[in-house]
């Protein structure tokens, strides 16, 4: 057991404060817009906090540290692209300005506004499948981190996963987005403290020059250059740029923050400043992985190396603060993702299939019920599914299943007058087929690039062959 009494006290106090704050959100909920988008009242600073907290989880630290451990400093290219793309979107307002202006609630709703109701349903199913498969591995990876760092036996992993899920489900079901935003703020502060503390300790304990030496010895030039590293290269870089453009605009949990801001100008500011946080969100945990390489050498389990190192280098008290920070990161991501995928299932799959519209109160009840079922799926998937490769690549590909097609359909719907419903169908199909090739041993970079290419081709050819007038006839 690495935890002392003081560490446990810090973690328990943090959990109690978060739960109390989360449960307080319930009294602000009167309709589905409050539940799903906090009434669209997000300002700049709280917008930055919730967007950053939603996309920084223990899962993020784990997969980025794994990349750092395996590919050295060249892994930093991932952080640079993630942050750079978000800063570009925030500075220009490209896509996000128009998306906020449309007043949407979910991503698939865009497909009904610009294309057809049936395409919204198909998009909803793809979003839900990709999103649930993506989130399905979170608990196991996060549970592994927390179990190792607390010094608990790995046989306790299932119980750790269940407790984490139960805590975040409790306030998400009751307070929806309002609770998520309140807790995201507390969690953002905690996870930032944790992230900076660990980074400082890793540099202080392991040393910058030792890390550079370890990468040079184990990987040579490939550990520094993302161009020559066989895991990356130009195809991968191009895929990552497209992927991050798609994540920032079409990924349900990110898009919910765009839709929930006060106005399009606030959305731009939120994205611009969060982009800088995303640079550190990538590079700092990658450095922890590099630190673990220098600390243990190359023979360690790549996913467990970073938490193993942290458990050894952090002193009592600091360990408690860091674990509270990581728990904060875990809960903020999971609660937002629970809400995000549940909202798609309820708003874009169940509601369009019903002939009679549901009242606002019934919609809130439906969302809460779906929340519980999504949690159960995530718990069971996390227990038995075995990852086929590095976590980061698995998450990229399950995300691309929907993102590649959605990105083409979004670009077409927003900027091309000739974009038609059949083009939308072809884009979604092309994106899904391209990304599925990863599961047939095609490298992630090529599978991802082919998904975006096929989706773009599908949108263009489908729209040209079946223009708007004819596609309306076909889809009617």
């Amino acid at each position: 057991m690495n935890f002392s009494a003081i560490d446990w006290v810090i973690v328990v106090v943090y959990i109690a404060i978060t739960l109390a704050a989360g449960l307080a959100g319930k009294k602000y909920i009167t309709d589905a817009t409050d539940f799903l988008l906090a009434g669209r009242h997000l300002g700049k600073f709280i917008g930055i906090a919730t967007l950053a907290a939603t996309e920084i989880g223990t899962i993020t630290f784990m997969y980025y540290a794994e990349l750092g451990y395996k590919t050295g400093f060249s892994s930093f290219i991932n952080g640079l692209i993630a942050g750079g793309v978000m800063i570009f979107l925030g500075a220009t307002g490209f896509m996000i300005f128009k998306l906020r202006d449309l007043g949407l609630t979910t991503v698939p709703e865009f497909f009904e506004v610009k294309y057809s109701r049936r395409l919204r349903l198909i998009a909803g199913i793809l979003v839900a499948v990709g999103g649930l498969l993506n989130m399905g591995v979170f608990l196991k990876v996060e549970g592994t981190f927390l179990t190792i760092i607390a010094g608990l036996p790995l046989s306790d992993l299932k119980w750790t996963m269940t407790v984490i899920l139960f805590l975040e489900l409790l306030y998400t079901v009751l307070g929806g987005m309002v609770s998520v935003v309140i807790t995201d703020f507390i969690q953002f502060v905690m996870l930032s403290i944790g992230t900076l503390l660990v980074t400082g300790y890793v540099i202080y304990t392991v040393g910058w020059s030792n890390m550079q030496h370890a990468v040079a010895t184990n990987m040579g030039a490939n550990g520094f250059s993302p161009i020559s590293n066989p895991d990356y290269g130009w195809a991968y870089i191009l895929f990552q740029i497209l992927l991050w453009m798609a994540v920032d605009t079409c990924w349900q949990t990110t898009a919910m923050r765009t839709f929930a801001t006060k106005d399009p100008e606030t959305s731009k500011k939120v994205f611009f400043w969060t982009g800088f946080i995303f640079l550190g969100r990538g590079m700092m945990p990658m450095l922890w992985g590099i630190g673990a390489l220098a600390y243990f050498g190359a023979g360690h389990d790549s996913l467990q190396a970073m938490p193993d190192m942290i458990a050894r280098i952090l002193p009592t008290g600091v360990l408690g603060i860091v674990v509270a920070g990581m728990l904060a990161a875990t809960m903020s991501v999971n609660s937002s993702y629970l809400l995000g995928w549940s909202s798609v299932i309820s708003q874009d799959i169940i509601l369009p299939l019903r002939r009679e519209p549901l009242s606002q109160n019934s919609q809130v009840v439906l969302n809460r019920t779906v929340n519980v079922f999504v949690s159960l799926f995530v718990l069971f998937w996390g227990v038995w599914y075995v990852l086929p490769g590095p976590v980061y690549f698995y998450l990229n590909i399950t995300g691309t299943l929907f993102l590649a097609g959605a990105f083409s359909a979004f670009i077409g719907g927003l900027f091309w007058k000739r974009a038609s419903t059949i083009g939308g169908y072809c884009a979604l199909l092309g994106g899904a087929v391209g990304s599925a090739t990863y599961f047939f041993k095609i490298p992630a970079a090529y599978a991802g690039m082919s998904a975006f290419l096929l989706a773009a081709l599908g949108m263009t050819i489908g729209s040209l062959l079946f223009p708007k007038s004819s596609s309306k006839l076909i889809s009617a």
């Binding site: 600073f45 900076l196 520094f224």
Partner: protein
């Protein structure tokens, strides 16, 4: 290799400093933002209740 080593060191310093600075500003200014959001939600709730009461009165009057 020397170029990339230098390039990533500079990038890391910028990323780490920006993360720390923005986190600090958001931690302080976010509290006021959060209060405004909750106040706006409460105000919208009151408005909705008033609208509902008004509608009920209007219905009774019409009957």
């Amino acid at each position: 290799m020397a170029f990339w080593s230098w390039f990533w060191t500079v990038n890391f310093i910028i990323a780490g400093s920006a993360f720390a600075a923005i986190a600090l500003v958001v931690a302080f200014k976010g509290v006021a933002d959060l209060r405004t959001m909750l106040a706006d939600l409460k105000a919208a709730q009151v408005l909705r209740q008033q609208d509902r009461q008004h509608d009920r009165k209007h219905d009774r009057h019409n009957r």
